[in-house]
C-alpha cells in the first residue's frame, strides 16, 4: 500500500494497522523518518517537501513492487508526506512483512535507499540562516549503489 499525503500521520497507528493485516507472518521491520531538530545549519524550524505529484506515486509504487518481488514479501506499506512540516514530525514510514526477518530487514533498507535517491521529493529546510535546499548525501548514493 502506497500513500503520499500532506496531512501528518502517526507511525504507531500505521504499524498497528499493518501488523493486523499481515498477522501470523512472522517478521515485520519498519523505518520511520522524522524531521530533524538540528542540521548542519543549526536549529531547524521547519521543513518543506516539494514533490511532483504525477511522478511521485508512480515512482514509489515501482520501488514497492520491485522490493516485493526481490525479497518475497508478504506485504509492505510506504507512507510519505509532502508540504510543510515541523521538527519531530514523521516524513516517511516504510514497513515490510516476511516469513523470516532477514528478508524484511533487507527490503526496508532497500526501499529507503531508493526513496532517498529516486523519489521525486525536494527538501527545503528553514533555519536561523534562512532557507536552504537539501540534497541526497554522498552516503545516500553509496547506499543506493549496494543494490545494483
Amino acid at each position: 500500500m502506497i500513500r503520499v499525503e500532506a496531512q501528518p500521520f502517526d507511525p504507531g497507528a500505521e504499524l498497528a494497522a499493518f501488523a493486523a493485516r499481515v498477522a501470523e507472518v512472522g517478521a515485520i521491520v519498519s523505518f520511520t523518518g522524522l524531521v530533524r531538530g538540528r542540521s548542519g545549519g543549526g536549529e531547524v524550524s521547519g521543513l518543506e517537501l516539494d514533490h511532483y505529484p504525477a511522478f511521485t506515486e508512480k515512482t514509489i509504487a515501482g520501488i514497492g513492487a520491485e522490493a516485493e518481488a526481490r525479497f518475497g514479501l508478504a506485504g509492505l506499506i510506504i507512507v510519505h508526506r509532502h508540504g510543510a512540516m515541523a521538527p519531530g514530525e514523521p516524513i516517511v514510514f516504510v514497513a515490510a512483512a516476511a516469513e523470516h526477518r532477514r528478508a524484511a530487514f533487507e527490503a526496508v533498507d532497500y526501499m529507503m535507499d531508493r526513496l532517498k535517491t529516486e523519489a521525486p521529493f525536494w527538501k527545503r529546510e528553514q533555519g536561523p540562516g534562512g532557507d536552504r535546499w537539501i540534497e541526497a548525501r554522498p552516503a545516500d548514493l553509496e547506499d543506493r549503489a549496494r543494490w545494483g
Binding site: G33, D50, H51, Y52, A54, F55, K58, H80, I91, V92, V94, M112, L115, K116, T117, E118, A119, P120, F121, W122, K123, R124, W133, I134, E135, A136, D140
Partner: protein, 79 residues
C-alpha cells in the same frame, strides 16, 4: 504550448514553478530544449538536472513537442 515544470531549488533560480512556452522549431528533444533554456538559465545545463517528459524519465534525449509536460528535476531527496 508545452508546459515546463521546475522543482526544488530550480523553483527559486528560475523564479517560477511552472510556465507554458511555445517551443521553437529547432527544439525537438530534451537536449535541444536544455540548450535553448540554458542561455537564460545556465543552471539547467548542469548534468545533475534530469528532464522528465510527461512524467517519464527516459535515457538519452527523448523527443519533446508542444502539449508535452516537461519537468526539470534536481537531485532528489525523499525519505
Amino acid at each position: 504550448m508545452a508546459r515546463l515544470l521546475f522543482f526544488g531549488r530550480l523553483r527559486d533560480s528560475v523564479g517560477t514553478e511552472a510556465l507554458t512556452a511555445s517551443l521553437p522549431d529547432h527544439v525537438r528533444d530534451t537536449g535541444t530544449l536544455r540548450a535553448w533554456l540554458g542561455s537564460d538559465h545556465p543552471e539547467l545545463l548542469d548534468s545533475s538536472i534530469r528532464i522528465a517528459v510527461n512524467a517519464e524519465l527516459a535515457p538519452g534525449n527523448p523527443r519533446v513537442a508542444d502539449d508535452d509536460e516537461i519537468a526539470f528535476l534536481p537531485p532528489m531527496s525523499g525519505g
